[in-house]
Each structure stands twice: as C-alpha cells, then as structure tokens.
Symmetry: C2
Subunit: 316 residues, 2 copies
C-alpha cells in the first residue's frame, strides 16, 4: 500500500461530500485495498444516500456491458446520476477480453453524471468480495441515484449479486444454446427480470418460450412478482427503453409491497457474512499447525474452527 499517498481523513471526507469525483476515486481505491483510511471513510459514510441498485449478470459474451451502456443512457435521459461497478474476474485468461468489452462504456467518460469503476472479484469463479458492497455504499453516499453492478455470471457471484442488488437482471442470448440455458437453471430463480439480448440472431423467440415454460414451474415471488422477459438488441438500442421501464416497475413493486427494506437487510447480512468468511480464510491460512492436525485426523474441523474463534483478539 506504499503507492497510496497519505491523505487526511477529514480532507478526503470533505472533498467527497462536496462531490469531488477524484475524492470518490481515491476512497474506492482505499476501500478496495483494505486500507484503514478506507474503513474510517466507510464508517463515516455508510448508510448515507439511497440508490436504485440493479445487478446485471449473465454469461460472458451475452452483451452485458453493451446493454448496461444503453441502460445508462436511459437513466441519464431521466436525469438520474449513475454509478457503475464492473466486477472483473481476476483470471489472466479472461481479464483482457472483458476489460476490452468495457471500453464501450467509455462514451460516458465526459459525462459528469456517470461514474464507472472496475473492481476485482474474489478469484476467477469466486463470489462478490465484501469490498464490492463497500464500494457500492460509497457510490450511494456520493449521491448516485442509480447504480448498476455488472458481474460476469459464473456461479457464486450471481447468487451474491441477487443478495446485494434491489433488482437483478439476467442477460441471455439466443446463441447461448440449450446447455447454457440448463446451466442457468439455478440462476433463473434469482433473476427479477430477463433480457434476451442479441435478439436479432436466430432462435430468440424459442428462448423466450423456453424461459416462459421454465418460469411457470418457478416458486412464486414475494408480492406476486412475475419476472418479465424483454427482447433486446443492445448494439442498436432496440428494446432497451422497455427494459429500463421494467427495471423501474420492479422497483415500484418493491416499494409498493414494502420489500425494499428486506433487500437492504439481506445486503447487510451478506456484508457481515463476507467479513467472517474472509476472516476465516485468512486465519485458516495462517494456522498451519492446526490444519496439519486436522489433515492427520487428530482434530476435527469444528474443533480447529472453534480454537481460531476463541483465539481472536484483534479487530477484524
């Protein structure tokens, strides 16, 4: 963390609260790096502001970034200030391609009402890091009214995003084929809306029918919400306005049924769990002797875990 110049908390906080984007950027860097100053900032800022938080997920190649780019335009048309968190897997295999894709969102670079930030995920297939939610809290405190959190949809991060966002959008394509549809089965239960993107490719109508059939078997959602399906062509913007209105309709549904508070509690729960999980990972990594005893069958994992818990004296 030597590359971070020392900054006084008060100064940074003041600039942040005045709406200085460079202070926001610095704050996000500090939080992502786990810097104590980041923790102090979060302590002062957490719980301020309240954005409509939309999670955007789906397979690589589904066009999530291009679609998010279009959704930003829709939000801007309505005068909303927009923050975007793009969660990248840190895999050396995919990193480059995904970052390249995100360049499409750069057109908003000159728009002071839009702020876009890439964050690393917890390993290539891991879930959202606790730091992602902390970054989200910072964007909210900064005053953004709409925040998109884009995750590459591979397993755990999709489940996590549904716990953190108010509204979860799953992006599919006709090209993805049945295998991917099957793989998405678990995810279907967590999506509040579906976009069938690249709808100009063959097979779009078939995917919509398949989705509809699958959704009929799904358990009822809170407040009787039925996940709608939107055909879109992000490249041209076709269908994106209707999709944006769908996002808005879901938000109104949450408000009308008093469900928003439950989402915020779930997000807090996710944060606390993440802290404990990260703590467990670090302490287990350090506890070589204890782990060796478990491997030899001399100690149960439960006994080892309890010893770690009991030994904890430092703040997390």
């Amino acid at each position: 963390m030597a590359e971070l110049a020392p900054v006084a908390l008060e100064d940074l906080l003041e600039r942040f609260q005045k709406g200085d984007v460079r202070a926001l950027a610095r704050a996000l860097t500090l939080v992502e790096a786990g810097h104590p100053l980041g923790q102090a900032l979060l302590k002062a800022l957490r719980g301020r502001g309240r954005a409509k938080v939309v999670g955007v997920t789906g397979s690589p190649g589904a066009g999530k970034s291009t679609l998010t780019d279009r959704l930003i335009l829709e939000a801007r048309k309505r005068g909303e200030r927009v923050g975007v968190l793009a969660v990248d897997p840190s895999s050396p295999f995919t990193g480059g391609a995904i970052l390249g894709d995100r360049i499409r969102m750069m057109r908003h670079h000159q728009d002071p009402g839009v702020y876009i930030r890439s964050l690393a995920s917890r390993g290539a297939l891991g879930g959202l890091a606790g730091a992602t939610v902390a970054a989200l809290s910072l964007l909210e405190a900064f005053g953004f009214e709409r925040i998109f959190v884009e995750t590459v949809g591979v397993g755990q991060s999709e489940v996590d995003i549904a716990r953190v966002a108010d509204t979860t959008l799953l992006v599919l394509t006709p090209a993805a084929g049945d295998a991917v549809q099957a793989f998405k089965a678990g995810v279907m239960e967590i999506a509040d809306l579906f976009a069938v993107n690249k709808f100009d490719l063959p097979g779009g109508e078939r995917i919509i029918q398949e989705l509809k059939s699958a959704l009929e078997l799904a358990p009822p959602r809170p407040g009787g919400w039925r996940p709608p399906i939107y055909p879109t062509v992000a490249a041209t913007g076709e269908g994106v306005e209707a999709l944006f209105e769908g996002l808005e309709a879901h938000h109104q549904h949450l408000l009308a049924h008093g469900l928003l508070e439950g989402h915020r509690l779930e997000r807090a729960r996710f944060e606390v769990e993440s802290v404990i999980q990260e703590w467990g990972r670090r302490r287990t990594q350090d506890a070589k002797e204890l782990v060796a005893q478990v491997a030899q069958g001399l100690l149960s994992p439960e006994e080892a875990a309890l010893r770690l818990l009991k030994a904890e004296e430092r703040p997390l």
Copy 2:
C-alpha cells in the same frame, strides 16, 4: 431428525469397521444431517484410509455421470473398490433431470465393490458443503481405494472440488460451443486433466485445438505437470481406458513430486474454512438486531462480525 432411529455409537462404529454397507449408509445420513452421532463417528474415523480422490466436473449435459460410470468399470477391472459421491444442486429446476441421469450409474448396484451416494450441494449455485468432505472422509475410512466426487460444474463448486480432490477432471463437449468455453476460462486453471466427451459429435478436434492454445497461456503447474486432453465417447466407452490411465499418471506425478500431502492439507483447510463460513451464516441469520444496525449504517460489518465472534461460547 426424528426419523433417525437411535443407534449406539459403538455398535455403528463396529459394524462400519467390519465393512457393513448399511452402517456406512447410516453414517453418511447422520453426517449429512449434522447429527451429533455423525460428529462422533467422524471423530473416531477421520484420517483413516487413503483413497485416490478424483473430482469430476463440467457443465450439465457434458456426460459426467456416464463418464464416471465408465471410469468405475475401469477401476473395477483393476480390482479397486470404488466410492462415488454425486453432489446434486438442490434446485427444483434441475434436481430431477440430474437424478435421472445418475440412474445410468445404477448398473453397479449389484457390485459390492462399488458404493454410490448422492449428496445435496449448498444451494443451486453454491459450493461444496463441508458435509461433502466429511462424507468423503467416511468413504476413505470405509476402505475405498478410489473415490469419484462428481459435481455439477457451476462456479464455486468447481473451485471447491479442486481444493478437495487429489486430481480434478474437467469434462467438456464439442457441442457446448465457444460461449461455454469462455465461461470455463477460470475453471481451466484448476483442471488437472480434460476430457472432450461426446467426441463423435462435430467440432471435437476444434475444441481440442482451442484447449491446447489456451493451455499454452496457462501458468506452469506444480512439478511441471501439463494437463493432458482426452477425447472420449462415454456412451460407447471409447477413450475411457486412456483417460483412466491419465488419472493414474496424475496420481503418480503427485506422489513422485511429494505433492499429495499438500493436497491433503488444502482439503483440511477447506474443511476448517467451511465450518467457519457455515457458522458465520447461521449466526448472522440469527443476529437480526445487529444486521439491522449494519443496514442503518450504525455499525460496520467488521464490528458486527467481531461481536458475533466474541459472543461465541457454544461448540460449533
């Protein structure tokens, strides 16, 4: 847990150690249910026996179960006693289909040298549950020489299986297409061997070439292992013998380079982490007041987590 008849630990342990399969089945049920008797059994049995543990992962529809079925036959030809753990996602969407698939493995039902058990995973897209590793320890203690752990490859469970198994086999198909290949990018780094199954379908050679190119970019593996790629047709058994020999070659590689012990330590580490994670999940679920304070910004997630840790008095 009312459905479990009371059994004395000593009696069950004695029958287990005599090789009574019904005692093994009961022990697995107790462990999966988190029954105290299961914990006591584990305490007595953990660390006994030593199997070659092979993780089999890949997308739904890749033919993992059929391939595992064929691999069981190869192991049996060599006189190995074989245990199989088939980890099912608990999603109501996919559960049925996957279970149906597994019926193919039923041909081994009459073979006393083969024991097959289905286990629930942690949610549809969640990782391996700690109970899966506990079940694995029971199968090892029972004396199986080869254990296959089959997981539906959706994200976290693939990363987890690589931490738990000695050898990780990733099953792909030509039909899966580029999108799935891309999605697999993160998984490629954890696979020790690849099977391109359903190789009789068009596109098999192309997938092999794509895999080879991708693997050239991969970081070097411990001991200089280069993940081999095997074309297979599980339905006919074609290529399965060569694949089995590949599994064996990887095991010999681990032995020759002293890498097996590291795998066992990683497995123990995974178990301890899992216990802490589960503990965190349960305690956070119960701590409604604390979570509400985090949601309101009155308490940081770190403070809340520390309070939970400090308050812990009960055994895990």
